[in-house]
């Protein structure tokens, strides 16, 4: 009897969860469907769950002049790789000295990092420092430097490093190794899981970023993928103009709806395909980060 009732309850819960999952995925299915629909079909039936009039025109248009997208990908990949490397170098060194309890200034350093999580200057002063002092606008550094040290990620890294067995540092010292050598040769190899998780966070922050491009970039050759998408949405003519002048086509022939949604699919796609593979690390980092900090 008890068993039967709990089976029924299980079924109800699975049903509710399935509905929630469908609601979660539904908008994405529409997005993909529209990217494969003709404008005429959309005008007739509206946006539909399954394309009523299947076409690849949208993607063909996007890839006829693939330059902006290829540039976007290149910029995003470059920024993600450089930014993650820089972020990891800065965070791991800083987190290490915070985690070393025998370091005289470890507490002071922790406070120095932590205070920036409580209080910040906000957009206007940051903008002025970046553009007036560092002059990063319209350079690749404008997309990298502002995120190169995250106090949040550094604190997560510190949490990981505190769990390392520090006796190995002692024995390295006895063997005559300097602090720097100890860090590179001994600490970094054992901190690999922490570096992987925090690296994932940095990479995700850089890859999905549009904010820095919005603030500091106006040069077309430096527009990252996510921001390219925004420009396409707010001003479809940006790409279409390029095409119509290059290909000498009439603007009204351009399948604007499917181009728009196709761009979104191209920008969001890779992340969605990749994320199930590193989901586990992400969850682990999130739970650490959300509770402390």
């Amino acid at each position: 009897m008890q068993k039967l009732r709990s089976n029924k309850l299980n079924l109800i819960m699975k049903f509710i969860l399935t509905i929630i999952s469908v609601l979660t995925l539904l908008p994405l299915v529409y997005l993909i469907s529209v990217s494969f629909s003709t404008d005429a079909g959309i005008a007739r039936y509206g946006y539909t769950l399954i394309p009523r009039s299947f076409t690849l025109e949208g993607y063909k248009y996007i890839f006829k002049v693939p330059r902006p997208i290829i540039t976007g990908y290149m910029v995003s990949v470059t920024v993600t790789v450089l930014g993650t490397a820089l972020g990891l170098a800065l965070s791991s060194t800083l987190a290490y000295v915070m985690a070393r309890k025998d370091y005289r200034y470890s507490k002071a350093t922790s406070f120095y990092v932590f205070f920036t999580m409580l209080f910040n200057g906000g957009l206007v002063p940051t903008y002025i420092v970046m553009t007036k002092l560092l002059h990063v606008q319209n350079t690749i550094w404008g997309l990298i430097i502002p995120y190169s040290i995250s106090p949040w990620f550094t604190m997560i890294m510190k949490g990981f490093m505190e769990t390392l067995p520090f006796e190995i540092v002692e024995s390295a010292k006895i063997d005559g190794a300097g602090e720097f050598k100890t860090f590179v040769r001994i600490i970094l190899p054992v901190a690999k899981p922490a570096i992987a998780t925090v690296g994932l966070f940095y990479a995700f922050a850089y890859w999905n970023d549009w904010w820095l491009a919005m603030l500091y970039i106006s040069k077309e050759s430096l527009i990252p993928l996510q921001f390219l998408l925004y420009r396409t949405l707010s001003n479809l003519s940006y790409i279409l103009n390029n095409m119509s002048s290059l290909l000498n086509v009439n603007m009204s022939n351009i399948p604007s709806e499917s181009v728009r949604m196709g761009m979104a699919v191209i920008a969001a796609g890779p992340m969605l395909i990749l994320f199930p593979f590193f989901q586990k690390h992400f969850v682990k980092g999130l739970t650490v980060g959300s509770v402390k900090g």
Partner: protein, 306 residues
């Protein structure tokens, strides 16, 4: 003199570690501390040629302009009401979904968990596209349904009164899954022997959830709730900027402090307004974070961040 030379000696002993930490400290100084000092521009009549130090002082003029405009009230109200709604609803929904996941076997959880996590990886720009797919006047899904029901289509992007609901739905869609996973992971840490003992005593699933899961997950939920309330003055810029598609008519219900500062700085170019609003956000935001942490310290000391 003696103490200085002693400190110097100590520094020499620690200098290797100091230099290892130095690059990160310098980077943090540039990225975070310099802008803090830059907050003084809220008291200046700033122009780009003279820079922060060279621009003339303006006293409290910028604040006068900001607080006597209707904007200050409007953006504060929107920020607090919308973020408050987001926090309450997303927490309630996430706890509910996590409780359900907790009752299922691991294999089916994995599928649901992956699906629920998907929106977290989608940028607000794409979400803006998705919402547009539903709300577009001519082709949108919602208007198609309305037409199918013989009802008049609605021009969603011109009437601000719908937007608190639309923004809330967008927020929940993107964030509930991620919050659910945090709570669910917390529930996984609960000792399985509690449940075994309870089911031997004949407790139903409901009773188990009420007597074991909820009380044990409560500290985590409350902790995260207070942390979120501490950050209530800061909004998710992308949501408020990309989902309403920058339609001016929607500003009465969609404009928050973050979007206001951005617009004043980059679109209108009114640096005085932007810096005054930004200063206001930094200070009140700081007080709220401090207050929420003091509160956590009172409730459970081991969870306090400082």
């Amino acid at each position: 003199m003696n103490s200085i030379s002693k400190e110097l000696k100590e520094f020499k002993k620690n200098k290797d570690l100091f230099f290892i930490g130095l690059p990160g400290m310098l980077a943090l100084f540039i990225v975070c501390y310099l802008p803090m000092f830059g907050l003084i521009i809220a008291f200046k009549r700033f122009n780009f040629d003279d820079g922060i130090l060279g621009s003339p002082w303006a006293g409290l003029d910028n604040f006068k302009f900001f607080f006597t405009s209707q904007d200050a009230f409007r953006v504060t109200r929107n920020t607090l009401l919308l973020n408050g709604t987001f926090i309450i609803l997303s927490f309630a929904a996430a706890v509910f979904v996590a409780l359900m996941l907790n009752e299922l076997n691991k294999r089916s959880v994995k599928v649901f968990q992956t699906v629920l996590f998907v929106p977290y990886f989608i940028s607000w720009i794409v979400v803006g596209y998705l919402v547009y797919g539903f709300l577009s006047f001519d082709y949108g899904v919602i208007n198609s349904i309305l037409k199918g029901l013989n009802m008049a289509p609605v021009d969603w992007y011109s009437d601000p009164k719908y937007w608190p609901v639309i923004l809330t739905a967008s927020y929940l869609w993107k964030n509930v899954g991620y919050l659910t996973i945090i709570f669910y992971t917390g529930m996984l840490g609960i000792d399985a022997s509690f449940y075994e003992a309870a089911s031997i005593d004949g407790a139903s699933k409901f009773q188990q959830a009420k007597a074991i899961t909820i009380p044990l997950i409560k500290p985590l939920v409350i902790l995260m709730l207070i942390l979120s309330i501490g950050k209530i003055f800061y909004s998710d810029f992308g949501l408020f900027f990309f989902v309403p598609r920058e339609v001016g008519a929607l500003l009465p219900t969609t404009d928050v402090i973050d979007t206001y500062v951005y617009r004043s700085l980059r679109v209108i170019g009114d640096l005085g307004m932007a810096s005054a609003a930004g200063f206001y956000q930094s200070i009140v935001g700081f007080l709220l974070v401090l207050g929420s942490n003091l509160f956590i310290r009172k409730v459970s000391k081991e969870n306090a961040v400082f």
